[in-house]
């Protein structure tokens, strides 16, 4: 293909070892101006390592790296920034207690004799944000802004440092559809300004939408680097996992049994009285063997609904709840667990797992009472049970005594699931069960969901991936601002109808109080 420009960044024959383990072998990569270059691969394929080499985090690699035709060897992240390479990590690097303009000029303050020129910084920030179309004021504290805006500010910060190559590592993992759209619009404007963008994502829809060129890594090796048109999704998945994938996933819905849960007029109040309620007047019911999907944009209240059901909000959650026809009151997670409920939270690192503890300790944490007599733990029983469930869920680890923090995303998620499955729940609340999980592990999670529902377990599923929602749900509820606005049977739901319901105002008008 004929290209009008030289590459902004070129890697030739790059390899990297950790000790004796080779994590990257002979990888070539070229980033041209004005293109979005997708870096695809399963977890552990070497994407992060490659990003860290480009970002100057690792300097002890083999092979060469050229920036604008000049061979360089970066030895620190600031050097990479100076060369025009900026990385937007999943965990943002903004100081949340400082203002937007202070963050943008962090480390490069405009100053006169050491005194910061606040006014000049604010003006420059205002111009920059206006150019990028970011809705924020320079004087606002970053911590007060929504996550999506923080991402955009992180990008603005990169732009203010004249970044030519911007690397984004799963930037939309915490964003909702609208926010992602904003980000994509910004990415397009960066493209037209001649920036090269390296984009890492596990979401196929995003890849389809954004990609100009795709490079696939597998087990540290380059599988190929082609233009997006040559790599439709099925073929891309084949390249990533190393075998053809006939179908991404299939739901086998068992016949439904008796009602497991019914709620009426379920509300969750905000943290303070002046706050808006998080969940308002929700009614739903679910039967054995059913997967009930709940769709909604970020902030629609679907996560709050699950947390509220599980007793996380204590008495802030009100309404009537029946489990198997019996009215119950759930104020604490323990009550919910006693009623046969389990909640997989949407952020396994923040709220799901105890990262410094072993796999065994994590798996048995919720059931420790049953593994101890008079408080003393029966370690043999604990270990046996943990091994059994880990095997059933195919957790891959050298030893179950390993720290959970050292596992890959997919295996961490399986440990979190194992913890709950050990309780033999009859109702599973799954909030983003495949977030940050690679394609292979995703399929395993779907397969497990099929097995569990076949055993009569009911599942409420929240996911921001439309394809996952449509494929796995037997029935779909859509929420908007804390209320349910639509219900679809699985076969009748279409992406368009769901998005419409998620964005439409509720049927009844809200009366301002």
């Amino acid at each position: 293909m004929d290209r009008p420009h030289d590459p902004l960044l070129r890697l030739v024959g790059v390899g990297k070892k950790f000790g004796t383990v080779e994590v990257l072998r002979n990888v070539d990569l070229s980033i041209y101006p004005g293109e979005v270059h997708i870096l695809a691969g399963e977890n552990g394929a070497g994407k992060s390592t490659l990003v860290k080499i480009m970002a100057g985090v690792y300097s002890d690699y083999t092979g060469t790296m050229e920036v604008a035709g000049r061979q360089v060897r970066l030895s620190s992240p600031p050097e990479a920034t100076a060369m025009g390479i900026s990385v937007i990590y999943q965990e943002l690097s903004l100081v949340s207690t400082m203002t937007v303009s202070d963050n943008i000029f962090l480390g490069l303050f405009l100053h006169r004799a050491g005194f910061v020129r606040n006014k000049a910084q604010c003006d420059a920030t205002k111009r920059l944000l206006a150019k990028l179309g970011v809705q924020a004021l320079p004087e606002q504290r970053v911590g007060d802004l929504p996550i999506a805006t923080r991402h955009l500010i992180e990008i603005a910060k990169a732009m203010s440092r004249n970044a030519k190559v911007i690397i984004m590592d799963e930037p939309t993992s915490a964003l909702n559809v609208q926010e992602s759209e904003k980000l994509f619009a910004l990415i397009r404007s960066l493209k037209s300004n001649g920036c090269g963008i390296i984009y890492i994502s596990h979401k196929m829809e995003e890849i389809e939408q954004l990609a100009d060129r795709i490079t696939v890594l597998r087990d540290g090796m380059l599988i190929g680097s082609v233009s997006a048109a040559e790599l439709p999704t099925p073929k891309l998945i084949h390249w990533m996992v190393g075998r053809p994938m006939e179908q991404q996933f299939s739901r086998r819905a068992p016949p439904t049994g008796k009602e497991v849960l019914r709620i009426e007029r379920f509300c969750v109040a905000g943290p303070l009285r002046r706050h808006k309620p998080l969940v308002q007047e929700v009614a739903l019911s679910i039967r054995q063997g059913e997967i009930l999907g709940i769709a909604g944009l970020e902030g629609a209240g679907n996560s709050h609904l699950l947390s509220g059901l599980f007793g996380v909000y204590g008495r802030r959650a009100t309404g009537r709840v029946w489990i198997e026809g019996k009215p119950v009151r759930i104020d604490r997670p323990v009550h919910a667990m006693q009623q046969g409920m389990a909640l997989l939270t949407n952020d396994r690192k923040a709220t799901g797992l105890i990262l410094p503890m072993s796999i065994i300790a994590n798996i048995t944490l919720a059931k420790l009472r049953d593994f101890s007599t008079a408080g003393w733990r029966r370690t043999a029983r604990e270990t046996r049970a943990a091994h059994e469930i880990a095997r059933a869920l195919r957790v891959r680890a050298n030893s179950l005594r390993m720290e959970v923090g050292k596992l890959s995303g997919g295996n961490q998620q399986k440990v979190a699931l194992a913890k709950w499955m050990l309780l033999n729940p009859q109702l599973l609340l799954l909030d983003e069960p495949t977030r940050g999980v690679d394609v292979g592990a995703k399929r395993e999670v779907y397969e497990l969901m099929n097995q569990w529902t076949a055993r009569g377990i009911a599942i409420i599923l929240i996911t921001s991936e439309m394809s996952e929602l449509l494929a796995m749900s037997d029935r779909i509820l859509v929420m908007h601002r804390g209320r349910i606005t639509a219900e679809f049977s699985g076969s009748r739901a279409t992406p368009q109808a769901i998005v419409n319901a998620a964005m439409a105002p509720p049927v009844e008008k809200e009366i301002p109080s």
């Binding site: 552990g44 086998r252 997670p333 797992l353 990262l355 410094p356 503890m357 195919r394 050298n398 292979g440």
Partner: protein, 365 residues
């Protein structure tokens, strides 16, 4: 796995090493003790906090054999004294370990030690109560003070540093108030301003004695008992596991049904209880209850825990590490005093050694 219906296509696990797939299709967890991995396991062990804490202790012991002060370092009496002198701090460190593992800190232990020492002395010397009453009462005072700090932390969400700092000041004041800001000793004031002396209670003498033909101080035996209790709690009891979980990720622990409030209050209560034990030992050894005892000893206890390798961030650590840290500090102090290093130099060297030990303990990724 045999229940697969014809419609389904059970996926082969992607990405995993296919050699570990068993015939049934389930991926079996690999056995870490297979042959050919011993060297790797040893290297791995060298990087663990236990190995590093041992290395620090070994280094101090090597220094001791070099600067042996004309052989006095090798005497059994020296070993006994080293252990006896560090025992009070070690007992404080037992409770401190529990608290630090939850991600908290307890600054009040030095003051609780003094408070309990004063109460213990008043009850046994002035009031002449039996040890069978005095000891439970003293322990109860320590536990109550600890539970109160724990309540401030767990119920009201006050930062542990602040809550226990307040308790440190308060308990010190209470100790001074109860004692009239004087040592509670066997010298009893007469109405005319003179003093008469009463005999030292038997319990003071038993705690201040030694066993095994004089080669092991009773306070060291008490320390060993306390350490064993703390070790059992942390490694064998459900509550210990809860403490690690809270320190590792409090929110995840709460969502998994861990009784966070109770477990945390328990940790501070245990810390107060151990501080009470240390207070009793201290008073018995000094034969008086000193309201100014234990000033700064909370910092020594924290240093012991941290040098051992328990993380101040919570979630990682253990009682064995604390014992190693205690021996390191104890022997270091002894070597410095055997070699008659003046106090100023001793303090400065202690600071340097703490930093060195903690640097050596730092986790490398």
């Amino acid at each position: 796995m045999n229940q697969t219906t014809p419609r389904s296509n059970t996926p082969a696990p992607a990405g995993g090493p296919s050699k570990s797939d068993s015939p049934s299709g389930a991926v079996v967890v690999e056995n870490p003790h297979e042959g050919g991995r011993r060297v790797g396991a040893l290297l791995h062990w060298m990087g663990t906090p236990v190995a590093r804490a041992m290395a620090a202790l070994l280094l101090v012991l090597v220094l001791g054999t070099i600067f042996n002060a004309n052989g006095s370092f090798f005497k059994i009496a020296t070993q006994r004294d080293t252990l006896r002198e560090v025992s009070d701090y070690g007992i404080l460190a037992c409770g401190m370990t529990l608290v630090i593992i939850t991600g908290g800190i307890d600054l009040s232990v030095g003051s609780v030690l003094a408070l309990v020492g004063v109460c213990f002395s008043i009850m046994s010397i002035h009031w002449g109560w039996s040890a069978w009453i005095v000891i439970p009462f003293s322990l109860l005072i320590g536990a109550a003070v600890g539970a109160f700090s724990g309540g401030l932390v767990a119920w009201f969400g006050i930062q542990p540093f602040i809550a226990t700092l307040a308790m440190m000041v308060f308990a010190r004041g209470l100790a001074e108030y109860i004692s009239g800001n004087m040592e509670v000793s066997t010298a009893m004031a007469n109405p005319d301003g003179t003093y008469h002396y009463v005999p030292v209670p038997a319990i003071f003498q038993s705690i201040n004695s030694s066993v095994l033909g004089g080669y092991l101080a009773v306070v060291t035996v008490i320390l060993m008992f306390c350490a064993a209790v703390a070790w059992l709690i942390l490694s064998r009891h459900r509550w210990g596991r809860y403490l690690f979980a809270i320190g590792g990720n409090e929110e995840a622990a709460r969502l998994s049904g861990v009784p966070v409030v109770g477990a945390k209050i328990g940790a501070y209560m245990a810390s107060g209880l151990f501080a009470a034990v240390a207070g009793i030992c201290q008073a018995a050894q000094e034969q008086q209850g000193d309201p100014r005892a234990g000033i700064g000893s909370e910092l020594t206890a924290i240093a012991i825990v941290v040098i051992g390798g328990t993380s101040l961030m919570g979630g990682r650590g253990g009682m064995g590490l604390t014992l190693l840290g205690m021996l390191t500090i104890g022997y270091m102090e002894k070597i410095l005093s055997l070699n008659a290093v003046p106090d100023a130099g001793r303090l400065m060297l202690t600071g340097v050694i703490i930093v060195t030990a903690v640097l050596a303990q730092r986790r490398r990724e």
